[in-house]
Each structure stands twice: as structure tokens, then as C-alpha cells.
């Protein structure tokens, strides 16, 4: 998964759905390292809503009992790729809450590899993606539980909402487990906005765009529950939704 200097090909799993033409000028991507010693806590919120293409490669190492929460709004107008590699020590906790909002012709993706290296670590990933027009949203996420990492609790909740039949979502939650006593849950769904709800809302007077925005806002908000900067993230997401709907 580490982004080698050689430019990737589509044959590499983690780049299967990437916009390689947009990635090329950004290559090689510099790694950003976040290292937390035992017992430390940290959080970061990343909001990308600009017009330029972006590729980030974030490596997070969590010592015993450390915890880190990464919240991400991937909603720029160009290509947006966020690769996140996390290694959890004993009893560490990692939270990822990511929302992606892709309009026509855009590719947005979150690619994660979360390694439970010690016992009793917890990882929670909540990814909510919305794609309209010919937009594409991807989530490729692997949870790896190393031998001896018993008591692991790993969760991936991945949902995508397609606003048009021309939009695409590629969601691939993956588990690789080498320990025995492990709790790993993953849920993955791709759907459309509920037509019954849209009519119900229209019947009460909401124009279709407003109704869609309200429902999508609620959908995206699931990724930001509990974030330090929840309000800021929601506000930025709402502004980006306005452009999408």
C-alpha cells in the first residue's frame, strides 16, 4: 500500500479505480506521518473543497492506549485521493469518519489500511459517499489483524448514495485476520435517495433540491458524529452539497 516512487498502474489494487491522469502531476506523494506515543490522544479534521486535485498519503502510528480520530470531507472539484495507513498498538483506538461528495466527471477516493498490531485495539471507520452525474466515489479499506492481536474490535460502515444512474460507487471493505479472538464487523451498501421520502417531503412543500439536500445532509452527518469540529465539517459539507444537488 505504501506509495512507491514508481508511478502506480491500474493493476495495483489500491489504484484500481483511481484517476491516474489526475494523479500523475501530483506524483510522488509525500507521506505525512502522525506518531502518537503510548496514551496520547489526537484528532485532525481535513476539509478539502477546493478546485485543485489533491492526493494525500497519511501514515498514523498509535502506541499502546493512544487514540486518534481523523475526520475528512473529500469534496473538492478535482480528483481527491486520501490514503490512510494506521498501525494500532495494544489498546489503541482509531476513528475515521469520512464523507465524499462527487459531482460529474470527478473521482474521489479514500483508501485505508488499518493494522491491529497489538491486543484489544479498536478501529471504527464510517464512510458516507455521495455521487451525482458521472461522478465516482471509492472506498477501498482493509482491516488487518496480526497474529496475537486478540480482543481486536474493528468496524467498517460504508455507504454510498447515487443521485443519478450515471454515477458510480466502488466500495470494498476487506478483512485479513490472523488472530482468533476478534470482533470485526463490516457493512456496505450502495443506494439511492428514498423516492417515498422525497414525495412525502415535496407534499409538505419542500422543493426537490431542498428535500434532497436535507436527506443528504443527514446521510453525510453520520460520518462526523462525535468529531471535535463537527459543526465546521457539517457546514462545509452543506455548502458542498448545495453545488452537487
Amino acid at each position: 500500500m505504501s506509495q512507491a516512487l514508481a508511478f502506480p498502474t491500474r493493476g495495483q489494487e489500491d489504484f484500481r479505480y483511481a484517476d491516474l491522469a489526475a494523479l500523475e502531476p501530483l506524483w510522488p506523494v509525500a507521506q505525512q506521518r502522525i506518531v502518537l506515543a503510548a496514551g496520547e490522544r489526537g484528532a485532525e479534521a481535513v476539509i478539502h473543497t477546493g478546485s485543485e486535485a489533491v492526493a494525500r498519503d497519511i501514515v498514523i502510528e498509535l502506541g499502546a492506549g493512544a487514540s486518534f480520530a481523523l475526520h475528512l470531507l473529500n469534496a473538492g472539484q478535482g480528483y481527491g485521493r486520501f490514503a490512510v495507513q494506521v498501525t494500532l498498538g495494544e489498546g489503541a483506538e482509531f476513528t475515521l469518519g469520512a464523507a465524499q461528495l462527487a459531482g460529474s466527471g470527478q473521482v474521489l477516493e479514500v483508501v485505508t489500511q488499518v493494522t491491529h498490531a497489538g491486543r484489544d485495539a479498536v478501529s471504527r471507520q464510517v464512510v458516507r459517499s455521495v455521487a451525482g452525474g458521472k461522478g465516482t466515489v471509492n472506498y477501498l479499506g482493509k482491516v488487518r489483524v496480526e497474529p496475537g492481536a486478540d480482543g481486536t474490535d474493528g468496524e467498517q460502515s460504508v455507504r454510498a448514495m447515487l443521485l443519478d444512474r450515471s454515477a458510480t460507487a466502488n466500495n470494498r471493505p476487506e478483512l485479513e485476520i490472523y488472530a482468533d479472538d476478534v470482533k470485526c464487523a463490516h457493512g456496505c451498501a450502495v443506494g439511492e435517495l428514498d423516492a417515498n421520502a422525497l414525495f412525502y417531503m415535496a407534499q409538505r412543500g419542500l422543493p426537490p433540491e431542498e428535500a434532497k439536500k436535507l436527506m443528504l445532509q443527514a446521510f453525510v452527518a453520520q460520518a462526523f458524529v462525535g468529531a471535535d469540529q463537527e459543526e465546521v465539517l457539517l457546514e462545509a459539507a452543506l455548502a458542498a452539497l448545495g453545488k452537487l444537488v
Binding site: 428514498d194 423516492a195 417515498n196 421520502a197 414525495f199 412525502y200 417531503m201 415535496a202 407534499q203 409538505r204 412543500g205 419542500l206 422543493p207 426537490p208 431542498e210 428535500a211 436535507l214 436527506m215 445532509q217 443527514a218 446521510f219 452527518a221 453520520q222
Partner: protein, 247 residues
């Protein structure tokens, strides 16, 4: 207020309404009764403009406008409220937010000023009290985790807040226990029994009509009105059944 002439409508290319005509004047309460499959709910959805309910003939005039030309949200802003038989759950969106945005969208399209948060809450509290609904329930996501009866009561609270000219209430009485039926009936009277408003009650049973006294009762069968009478017609239906009365 509402004039339906020779309305034909299909659902999935199947004709359901076949030449339905009906006229409601201001200040009137009409009840439509009829057996399962007669087209009662289709009438409500067609008037509300639900996608998939296609009008293939006839006309509907509402307050002087061609109703069928309007989008569903425009029909709402024009003063049409449809009480759903099965109110829809909307996760993550609170009643308060949903209704305030809905009401303000209606007001905006009528050229009225939006209500502030405080003004809206005052209005919502007043209408919730009318239907004996705890205001805290309106802070919860729309209809989520509500019992059947609570959903119907919430529909009536919404009707109170939105203050429509015409309410089409599709089996609002189903799923209600006796106390809730009385509360809902009184709520309908309080909100809609006005000289400038009208109600179309779609129901299977006479019991709601004990509380909301209709001026006219219509029997819908085979996609058209086959009989019209006064309140006594509902009692006759209850006694003798649709088959005998509609034949």
C-alpha cells in the same frame, strides 16, 4: 374549492381511476368510502402529484388553478395537504427542521416572510398541544420509532402547522385506538372546520365520522363515484356493506 371532472389515472399502466367526478366547496367536509382496491388512495396520491400516478384524462381545478399543472411542492404551497396512510420515516432529519423548512418554502413561494426559529417553535408547540403530542417528539427524526397511532397524530400536527386550505386525509383513522381517534377527530375539526377550508376524508369505517361529521359521503367503486349522499349513507354502508349499497 376543488373540482374534479372525469378524472382518469393509471398506476403502472393499470387504469385505477375511471371517470371520477367530485366537487368540494369551501367549508365542506366530504368523506369517500369504498372497498379495498376501489381507488381511494390512488385518488389522494394523484391529487398530491405522486410520481408514477399518471393522469390520462379529465381535469382538476383547485382554487381556480389547474392542479395537474403543478409540481407536488407547488400543490402544497397552493394549500393542498395530503395526510398519508403510511407516513414515511426520514432518518437523521428532525420534525422541527423538516417542518420549519417546509413551511418557510411554502411561505416563500407565496411571497410571505419566513418564520424565525422562535416563531416557528411557538407555532409548533401550540399545534402539538392541540393534538396532545409531547413537543419533545417533534425534536426526533421524522416518524422514526413512532407507533402507528403516533405517526397519524404527527400528521395532524403537521397539518396544523402548515395550515392548508384543503386536507385530503387518507385513512388517518387506521391504527388509532379509541382515545387517539377522538383526539385526531377533534384536531381535524379545530384546524380545518373553517368557512374557507375543506376536507376530503378517505376512510373504510364510519367511526371517524362520529367525530368529524361529513356534509357529504361518497361511495367510490371501480374508480368512480357510484353514490353520493349525506351522513346517513355512511351508516347505511356500515350496516349493509359496500356490495349492497354500491350495486
Amino acid at each position: 374549492m376543488l373540482t374534479i371532472e372525469n378524472l382518469h389515472a393509471t398506476v403502472a399502466e393499470k387504469p385505477i381511476l375511471r371517470g371520477l367526478s367530485l366537487s368540494l366547496g369551501a367549508g365542506e367536509v366530504h368523506a369517500i368510502m369504498g372497498p379495498n382496491g376501489a381507488g381511494k388512495s390512488t385518488l389522494g396520491y394523484t391529487l398530491g402529484g405522486r410520481p408514477g400516478y399518471e393522469v390520462t384524462g379529465g381535469s382538476v381545478t383547485f382554487m381556480g388553478q389547474d392542479l395537474l399543472e403543478l409540481e407536488p411542492h407547488e400543490r402544497a404551497a397552493a394549500g393542498l395537504f395530503l395526510g398519508f396512510q403510511y407516513p414515511v420515516e426520514i432518518p437523521g432529519v428532525s420534525f422541527v427542521q423538516f417542518l420549519r423548512e417546509s413551511l418557510n418554502a411554502q411561505r416563500k413561494s407565496r411571497g410571505e416572510e419566513p418564520l424565525s426559529g422562535g416563531e416557528f417553535l411557538k407555532l409548533a408547540r401550540e399545534k402539538a398541544a392541540l393534538l396532545k403530542m409531547d413537543m419533545d417528539m417533534l425534536k426526533r427524526p421524522v416518524n422514526l420509532g413512532f407507533s402507528g397511532g403516533e405517526k397519524k397524530r404527527a400528521e395532524m400536527v403537521q397539518m396544523g402547522i402548515l395550515d392548508p386550505k384543503l386536507a385530503i386525509l387518507d385513512e388517518t383513522d387506521s391504527g388509532l385506538d379509541i382515545d387517539a381517534l377522538r383526539i385526531v377527530g377533534e384536531g381535524i375539526n379545530a384546524v380545518m372546520r373553517r368557512p374557507d377550508k375543506a376536507v376530503l376524508l378517505i376512510t373504510h369505517y364510519q367511526r371517524l365520522l362520529d367525530y368529524v361529521k361529513p356534509d357529504f359521503v361518497h361511495v367510490l367503486a371501480g374508480g368512480r363515484i357510484v353514490r353520493t349522499g349525506g351522513p346517513e349513507l355512511a351508516l347505511e354502508l356500515e350496516e349493509r356493506g359496500y356490495e349492497a349499497v354500491a350495486a
